[in-house]
Amino acid sequence: MIWNEAKECMSRDELETLQSARLVKVVNRVYHNVEPYRKKMQAVGLEPGDIRGIEDLYKLPFTTYEDLNANYPFGMAAVPPSELVRVHASSGTTGKPKIGVYTRHDIDIWAECVARCLSTAHITRDDVIQIGYGYGLFTGGLGAHYGAEYLGAMVIPMSTGNTKKLIDMMIDCGVTSIACTPSYLLHVAEDLEKLGLVDKIKLKSAICGAEPWTNEMRDQMEQRLHIKAYDIYGLTEICGPGVACDCDYHKGLHIWEDHFLPEVIDPATLEHLPAGSEGELVITNLTKEGMPLIRYRTKDLTHLEYDKCECGRTMARIQRFKGRSDDMLIIRGVNVFPSQVEAALLTVEGTTPHYMMVVDRIDNNDTLEVQVEVAENVFTDEVKSLEALSKAVHDKLKAAIGLNAKVKLVEPNGLEHFDGKSKHVIDKRKLYE
């Protein structure tokens, strides 16, 4: 089902005309209302009048997390605070969260985008949907909630943490769809199997996002629960979940290009690449009022496909992510950066020792082990002080990233050094292969 056929199936010409008009408007707004943007544009000798359409997009300066961090929290907002009605956040590299701010209109657009995604997964007003994302600062819970309500489905705001209750209500209320992280859904599947309740559920579809997942995981959930599973993508800074979603044909995630203008750049040279090239996904908010981001570097590596999809939509499709151009990890839906582990170790030990983060997925649950080298400066002859060190690292990490990591003290030089992107990370989940 197509929620907004007029937009989702627009011809490329029409779409580009719309994108161009919106780009000109948003560039004007940020130039006049957001000082950091005005300065960035002036620094490269750009005036709003120089941007006449999407063909001029590549002239505009990029926006990165560092810009958001430097102007945290509201320095990049394009409207006065009185116009803002909501704040969401997810973790950033250096401790300051990545923040997303919304006007009432932004919340409506977000709901529209999520409704398009849910429709792509054939969810209608006749469906009963459980939202199994966390409600709170995280965009997943409230984002999916507003979209599902806007669509007219019956929403059960489960949030996370109580699988037993989720299963009870899934059966009692005849739940037909669920929105949650893919690893959580597999966890639910396992519990349903253990309890012998798979036959008792009416689930037809699942909208999974907030962490990368594999085709193998999709096959697993579809076969074990007899459902159809769809991938939803989004990021807090841009909007939240609902930026893109895949359809029955699973040929990439349709990005709602009338709101989010996508492009691909070479992360090394920052050059704008021709359609279809492999590189870093960069998104420009075309309609956001609260904090529209211009050429925001997502750090996700992919390519875009523009041919019309068999589902009828013309919106470009984001292809399977090949990885990240930074060292961010998504563990149980939480953004984790090696720099956070470094900061935790620094506060505990006073120096940064050698360390390694080992991420794995065991029984469909992400695990994080932090191996810390015991160097001379922290080694003592007392077992209890070493145990206290291990606990202090664990607690600092828990406070910084909200995850319970297993801390393992290891001998110096005991850490194997891999050729991967980051010498501090071993990701055994193989999410990008």
Binding site: E376, D381, E382, V383, E387, S390, L409, G414
Partner: protein, 141 residues
């Protein structure tokens, strides 16, 4: 009163203890006593060696974390309750025992290594109580 103890950090994985001991024996280090304190994750090997500083440097160059600390070595008579008497005196003075283990050195009585939170105060008390102790020199360190 004080002897030098060499502590070595060990990961709980096969062959590590052997590797440490091999490094020391190849370097000609004479070991007098050994004790291992371990958890499920790691262990601390405590050694009494004739040349503790040289032993530490040997290990260090092999990439093994080690350090040298002073511990008290007492010799308790072979009689029921004699160790308890020593410990009680320390406890009475408000001294906490971090760890304790038996030393395998020849001689009369049972030699014991004791690590406390206040070594100097502990030494004073043991002296006052005329508890027999061992010194680094006596062990040839």
């Amino acid at each position: 009163m004080f002897i030098k103890q060499l502590s070595v950090f060990l990961e709980n994985k096969e062959g590590r203890l052997d590797e440490v001991l091999k490094t020391l024996s190849q370097g000609g280090i004479d070991l007098l006593s050994a004790s291992l304190a371990d958890t499920t994750e790691f262990g601390v090997l405590r050694l009494i060696a004739k040349e503790p500083e040289r032993a530490r440097d040997l290990l260090k160059s092999a990439g093994i974390t080690a350090r040298v600390d002073d511990v008290i070595a007492v010799v308790v008579p072979d009689a029921v309750g004699s160790l308890q008497k020593v410990i009680y005196k320390l406890h009475e003075a408000g001294i906490n025992i971090s760890y304790i283990y038996g030393l395998s050195v020849d001689g009369e009585g049972a030699p014991i290594a004791i690590k406390t939170n206040d070594p100097d105060k502990a030494a004073g008390i043991l002296e006052k109580e005329n508890v027999k102790t061992l010194s680094s020199e006596e062990l040839g360190q």
